[in-house]
């Protein structure tokens, strides 16, 4: 809930403070994506009646760069014009707190989003096809194309704000085959208003597909609930006979022509448990889903069967969600959910013309709003969610936070980043630097000092890798399956906390998969990484291979260049050259106390020449073996020198005085830095 409060505060700040005082703009991205516009996708116009907090018409921000697509619901429209018939175009005039008072917010949700710095607001309208299901080429696939185009043109991941079935159209667009899967990476988040993720109970009841006693979405449908919905359906159906236009934007506007609409392709698909819904894949993990949902509770005291009242358990208030979509369905699978509760008392009335009137009376302190249903458009109702200040503030906060977060990654961003699958653990979002839900003995995945005490000092760098003006984080992701460490994963995380790309260091070294970084530094749009890798014959304690490479980001993919490997060999060759050249002072720096003996060896038997190097701990099964004559002479068959474990021996051929070489014992003292630790002579 803290997140929710934070977002509300942000949303409220946006409403009050206005564009001028809002968060500072980040560097501008590419020019607006006009090439994507078509008969369905339009840039939302700036209406002169949408006013900013200083009551001047909302104007285009200086540098809009993040596409925000508004997608309407079933039988609705998104088009934003002066008629304000679009799902997101009505003025924000409702509140959960004082439902019977009109608010003085002189703009719509679209107008408010146009005030969010960096937001570039588009509408996607499929009204002409909205009786069709989301797989129709004019709905889901067309929305997918729009997302793809806006992403490519702007270079920014798209934000989708969807009402009702618009959320399902988005789900289709992001999950339909390989193309859908690719699109998932082009969308940062989807904000849904009353999207029936599991279908609509009302659609199912309207279709006669649900009887009392059925269990629907975890809720048992009672006779009371069934009768209430049927009562409302029939009432709204009667009102719709007198013309749908009058009912637009009211709850009866959604239900009015229910007989026809619920029997459309979309209406059938929207029923709970429909085969169309079952075929629709769930939102991809990559995309954050923020659900906004109405929670309408209806009570009526005297329902029953003639003189037999309903049993007491059935008299409790009926939870009908936003009247079209249940709360559970609207919030299913969401990463965050913002709900608002509105309580009503239902009254049935006999009006003079011998017709039935249905009124909903709001149950709230000092409020006694009683409206006939066909004029009812309460703040929790399906069609009103985008007019209700608390819900629109939530959406504004989410969008603002997302765009603001695209500036620069911070240490906080990293600690809560989305990370890819690593070390056999699934992808997920870190909490305080750790991937939760991994059982204690099953290993870890994460960033931070809790398992990597050099993290902040050496294993993370911040810099602009993609050239958008903001900083990305380049950090080493540590992971294991419990027990020995696995290779660290070089990870680039964006300002929104999402991993842009990741690459295991062992993929570069090609060694045994336990690579560990020395230092990560950023300069000039490149990250330079130094690290160590365990060779096959290395003990776990002691790596004898060091590497360095430059990492860049191109088209959101990591490119690796200038890979260098460092072993003991250059140092040994330098030692031999100094010995053969009789340079004791310099030799002492590399060979320490063994320098005089090496010089003597060179004088007596030189020049000295490197044969080859091998692991000091000669263990069966490794390729990194000593020459056979050396092994035999020094008894290395079962050699395991505890005092020199982790070092390397190098066989030195003597030009004069013997077939058996001497051995230089080499020890690594720092990154790519070696010295002679011992000399063994025949």
């Amino acid at each position: 809930m803290n997140d929710s409060r934070h977002r509300i505060a942000l949303g409220a700040m946006m409403l009050i403070a206005g564009a001028g005082a809002a968060i500072a703009m980040i560097a501008a991205g590419p020019a607006a994506a006009d090439g994507c516009l078509n008969s369905r996708l339009a840039r939302a116009p700036f209406l002169s009646s949408d006013l900013d907090p200083s009551r001047r018409p909302v104007k285009a921000p200086a540098k809009p760069r993040v596409p925000v697509i508004m997608v309407h619901g079933w039988t609705g429209r998104s088009t934003h014009d002066r008629q304000r018939r679009g799902a997101f175009s009505h003025l924000i005039d409702m509140s959960l707190i004082r439902s019977n008072q009109k608010l003085d917010i002189p703009r719509s949700l679209i107008g408010s989003l146009q005030l969010v710095p960096g937001a570039d607001v588009y509408t996607f309208d499929y009204h002409d096809a909205s009786a069709r299901w989301v797989d129709d080429s004019r709905i889901g696939p067309a929305l997918g194309d729009a997302i793809e185009c806006l992403y490519k043109q702007s270079g920014q991941r798209v934000i989708v704000v969807a009402h009702s079935m618009g959320g399902l159209a988005t789900r289709f667009a992001l999950t339909d085959g390989n193309r859908g899967a690719k699109r998932a990476g082009m969308v940062s988040r989807v904000v849904t208003f009353g999207t029936p993720q599991n279908g609509s109970l009302v659609a199912a009841i309207a279709a006669g597909a649900v009887d009392a006693g059925s269990k629907v979405g975890g809720t048992i449908v009672t006779t009371n609930l069934l009768a209430t919905v049927k009562l409302v359906l029939s009432y709204c159906g009667r009102k719709s006979d007198s013309g749908m236009d009058k009912l637009d934007g009211t709850i009866c506007g959604s239900l009015g022509d229910a007989g026809a609409a619920f029997d459309s392709e979309a209406g059938r698909a929207l029923r709970y448990g429909s085969s169309s819904l079952r075929r629709l894949n769930r939102f991809p993990e990559l995309v954050e889903l923020n659900a906004i949902a109405g929670d309408t509770r209806i009570e009526h005291n005297d329902g029953g069967w003639f003189k037999a009242p309903f049993v007491s358990t059935m008299k409790t208030s009926l939870a009908v969600g936003d009247m079209i979509v249940s709360l559970g369905s609207a919030t299913d699978g969401a990463d965050s959910a913002r709900t608002g509760t509105c309580k009503y008392e239902l009254n049935v009335q006999r009006i003079p013309e011998d017709e039935i009137g249905v009124r909903l009376g709001l149950v709230a302190e000092s409020e006694a709003a009683r409206s006939p249903l066909e004029s009812m458009n309460g703040p929790c109702f399906h069609t009103s969610l985008m007019r209700t200040a608390q819900f629109t503030n939530e959406a504004l906060g989410i969008v603002n936070e997302d765009i603001e977060g695209r500036g620069s990654a911070t240490m906080k961003t990293l600690m809560n980043a989305w990370v890819p699958s690593a070390c056999g653990h699934p992808a997920g979002r870190l909490k305080n630097g750790i991937l939760p839900a991994i059982p204690e003995s099953h290993g870890i995945v994460g960033f931070g000092p809790w398992h990597d005490d050099r993290f902040e000092a050496d294993h993370v760098a911040f810099g602009d890798l993609d050239g958008d003006g903001g900083k990305e984080a380049a950090a080493m992701l540590t992971c294991n399956q419990g027990g020995v460490a696995w290779s660290q994963v070089f990870t680039i995380v964006g300002a929104d906390g999402r991993t842009i790309d990741a690459l295991s260091l062992s993929k570069i070294s090609g060694e045994q998969g336990r690579d560990y970084a020395w230092k990560v530094t950023y300069a000039d749009r490149k990250v330079h990484v130094t690290w160590s890798a365990l060779r096959d014959s290395d003990l776990g304690c002691c790596s004898t291979m060091d590497l360095s490479a430059d990492f860049t980001l191109a088209a959101r993919k990591i490119k690796v260049a200038k890979v260098r490997r460092y072993t003991e060999v250059p140092t040994v060759q330098r030692v031999l050259a100094l010995a053969n050249g009789r340079k004791p002072a310099e030799l002492r720096r590399l060979a320490g106390s063994e320098a005089p003996a090496i010089l003597d060896l060179a004088r007596e038997y030189g020049p000295l020449k490197l044969d080859r190097c091998f692991a000091a701990q000669y263990l069966e099964g490794f390729d990194d073996r000593p020459p056979s004559d050396v092994a035999e002479h020094f008894g290395l068959d079962d050699f395991s020198d505890g005092n020199f474990a982790g070092g390397r021996y190098c066989a030195i051929r003597l030009a004069r005085g013997g077939e058996i070489p001497a051995l230089l014992g080499m020890e690594k003292v720092a990154f790519a830095k070696w010295r002679v630790e011992r000399l063994l002579v025949p």
Partner: protein, 141 residues
Amino acid sequence: MKGIAGKKAIVAGAVVVLLAFFAAWAFLLSSLLGDGPADRAQVARSVALALETLPSDPQSRMAASSVRSVDKTAAEAVPSGTKIEPVTESWSPEPSGGGTMLIDVSYPDGERASLVAVMVKEDDQWKVLATFPAETATGVE
């Protein structure tokens, strides 16, 4: 002149045929959809009849799910001697095939009630799913 008159006759004939075709199509469509005013009135009469005759055998007019929802029997809920007067004009169908109708109920103990009956069709018979008291109101609509 004769040629022009002949052409007019052909056009007039074509218009008549076209109108007849559209009339037939509209009738057919209306029959198929089954929600024309005539059809609606017929359904309303069936519902009204079911409600009128309910007191003679309340159990047979109780929707299956309602049996579990109340703690009285149908005969207790509608005692013998109860009179139900449906307001046929108030019939409002809902999409699944059910609907609502206003009824005036006189119980044998003298109590009278104005109710809305929520009707469903089970086994091709109209049954009452639930009733809600309908308060008398003015100026609502």
